[in-house]
């Protein structure tokens, strides 16, 4: 009986001591800063890439040392970012209500393999973070959004981004909306003129120089090197090192072919 008491006492003491030590522990993961969490995501991403490289190397090796009748391992086309997207989604929830969630949501959208998950990530950004400057990172994605999700969703996303208080967010949306007209509309027509006016106006107020450069580049391309333009001359050397110009062939229909044998 006495032994039992002692034992119980020890257990009690032990558990108290353990509690003392362990007490701050469950708190610490929640306290990790957004920067630390993003580092974790980057590490996971790197791991996915390293794992993939290893599998590819192994598959190459198995193909090289193939034994007759033995199957050669398949080569995955890209790393499996599923776990990265999952962890990013956990962190996004952790920072819910704060704009710190946006980079994690962006990761989910970029890396999730599931369309519904991507869509939900975008919806959350539009609903809760529409004025966050971070949302401008979606800009580069907008062009492929109709392929990623569907055309209606892409259109409504751009419309909603136009209501952001952030000039870059609005600028990216505007550029994505008018991009097709800049590329293809009749250059003397109203559609082209309207699109050009709209994106150049956006250019004046954006802070993202990458965006401004893309806008000016698209217009420059269309007005110098696009259909309807008088082609700039090309002066260069041929494969034997002999100088010549494209305009040497003026007077003929020219089929200019950008090619390579890689």
């Amino acid at each position: 009986m006495r032994i039992a008491y002692v034992l119980a006492g020890c257990l009690l003491l032990g558990s108290v001591a353990a509690q003392d030590v362990a007490a701050p522990k469950p708190q610490s993961p929640a306290k990790a800063s957004a920067t630390e969490c993003m580092q974790q995501i980057q590490d996971l991403r790197q791991k996915a890439i390293d794992d993939w490289r290893a599998v590819v190397a192994e598959a190459r090796e198995s193909a090289k040392n193939r034994v007759e009748g033995q199957r050669v391992k398949a080569m995955p086309m890209r790393p499996d970012f599923g776990p990265v997207a999952k962890q990013a989604s956990v962190f996004a929830k952790q920072f819910v209500g704060s704009d710190e969630a946006v980079p994690f949501l962006m990761m989910v959208v970029q890396m999730a393999t599931d369309k519904a998950e991507q869509k939900a990530g975008i919806e959350t950004m539009l609903d809760a973070h529409i004025d966050s400057p971070e949302l401008a990172q979606m800009g580069g994605m907008l062009k492929s959004l109709s392929r990623m999700i569907d055309e209606d969703f892409a259109k409504s996303t751009m419309q909603r981004m136009l209501k952001s208080k952030d000039a870059d967010v609005r600028g990216w949306a505007l550029f994505a909306m008018h991009g097709p007209s800049i590329e293809n509309a009749d250059r003397d027509g109203e559609e082209y003129a309207a699109a050009k006016t709209a994106v150049l106006a956006a250019c004046e107020v954006v802070t993202d120089q990458r965006l401004a450069k893309q806008i000016r580049g698209a217009i420059n391309l269309r007005e110098k090197y696009g259909v309807g333009c008088d082609s700039p001359d090309i002066a260069g050397i041929d494969l034997d090192g002999v100088e010549f110009k494209l305009s040497d062939y003026k007077g003929k229909v020219i089929f200019l072919d950008f090619w390579g044998d890689w």
Binding site: V227, L246, W259, W262
Partner: protein, 101 residues
């Protein structure tokens, strides 16, 4: 793409038509090997031959890219569809020949 272009050059050799390449291979040797191997029959600029980079000036974002110019060097097509490009080139040539008659 090679056989199509090669046949086009052969077919149009007596017409007001020129196929000019801009070659982006990493070396002249590589380009010349491709020419020898595939019997390629057109003249090409070296993409980086003159200090600059032609494909960069032209903002070429995908290969192959084809541009069709009329006899005054006005651009009529720019894109990646060899058949569409050829059709436009043929129409322009036909128009020139009709005008000369």
């Amino acid at each position: 793409m090679y056989p199509h272009e090669r046949s086009l050059v052969e077919e149009m050799k007596d017409k007001p038509f020129a196929l000019i390449g801009v070659n982006s291979d990493s070396s002249v040797e590589k380009a010349k090997a491709a020419i020898a191997k595939n019997n390629l029959n057109w003249r090409s600029f070296q993409n980086k031959g003159n200090g600059g980079e032609i494909s960069k000036d032209w903002a070429v974002a995908g290969w192959p890219t084809v541009v069709i110019l009329d006899e005054n060097m006005k651009i009529h097509y720019r894109g990646h569809d060899g058949n569409a490009a050829t059709k436009i080139a043929e129409e322009l040539v036909a128009k020139m020949e009709a005008g000369n008659k």
